[in-house]
Symmetry: C2
Subunit: 126 residues, 2 copies
């Protein structure tokens, strides 16, 4: 099959990763880019971290606060953002939770398999 | 500013590209990946073409038929797909049109600036 087809709401697809309490991602890896379909429970918090891969985020539903480079940006459905490599970032969901797509390029090797957690945290070595 | 923030529905953002009759894209370039926010008019047709960049597509609203590798796949809101580099692909919108995000990695050099058209068509040299 020349490529693959998925659906954002099919929980049987992708590799499951538990990023944090109330943050469940399904990971879909290409060769150059990786998609993470992320559901965030109301008021759940994704701690600030960083990684060498470039990241884009697209907020499809809900709202929250994107923490990026030490600043806080309120975001709501339809907002999207570019996070350059190695920039510290995190997310706090609003009261109705959030549904996002994160895009990583290159694909994050530590996300290739099912598992738990983000990447390097603030203060850890690169 | 450590990164950039946008909204899918803000038509003042990104570089405008007219891909085909009834297919208007707004292009947002990162270093490793590029997003194209694409609005397709009802029944508009994006001809089959290919390019060396990997592509992902996420159908946010509407429906259509994704043509990929010589096969046709009916798609509706919430479907997304991976298109490996150099695979022939195209799109026909359904009667209510379609609103998509295309993701290219690496960024497509020919999309970096405002302009018209897709890339190489079926039968053209790579």
């Amino acid at each position: 099959m020349p490529g693959k087809f998925y659906n954002l709401h099919d929980l049987s697809q992708g590799h499951l990763r538990h990023l944090a309490e109330g943050m469940e991602a399904r990971i879909f890896a290409g060769e150059k880019a990786m998609l993470s379909v992320l559901r965030v429970a109301p008021n759940a918090v994704g701690e600030v971290h960083h990684h060498p891969e470039e990241q884009w985020g697209v907020l499809l539903e809900g709202s929250g606060v994107r923490i990026q480079g030490g600043e806080e940006y309120p975001v709501s459905a339809g907002d999207f953002w570019w996070t350059p490599k190695n920039v510290l970032h995190g997310f706090r969901a609003g009261g109705e939770g959030a549904f996002l797509i994160d895009i990583f390029s290159p694909p994050r090797g530590d996300y290739e398999l099912a598992g738990r957690g983000f990447a390097a945290k603030l203060g850890e070595a690169d």
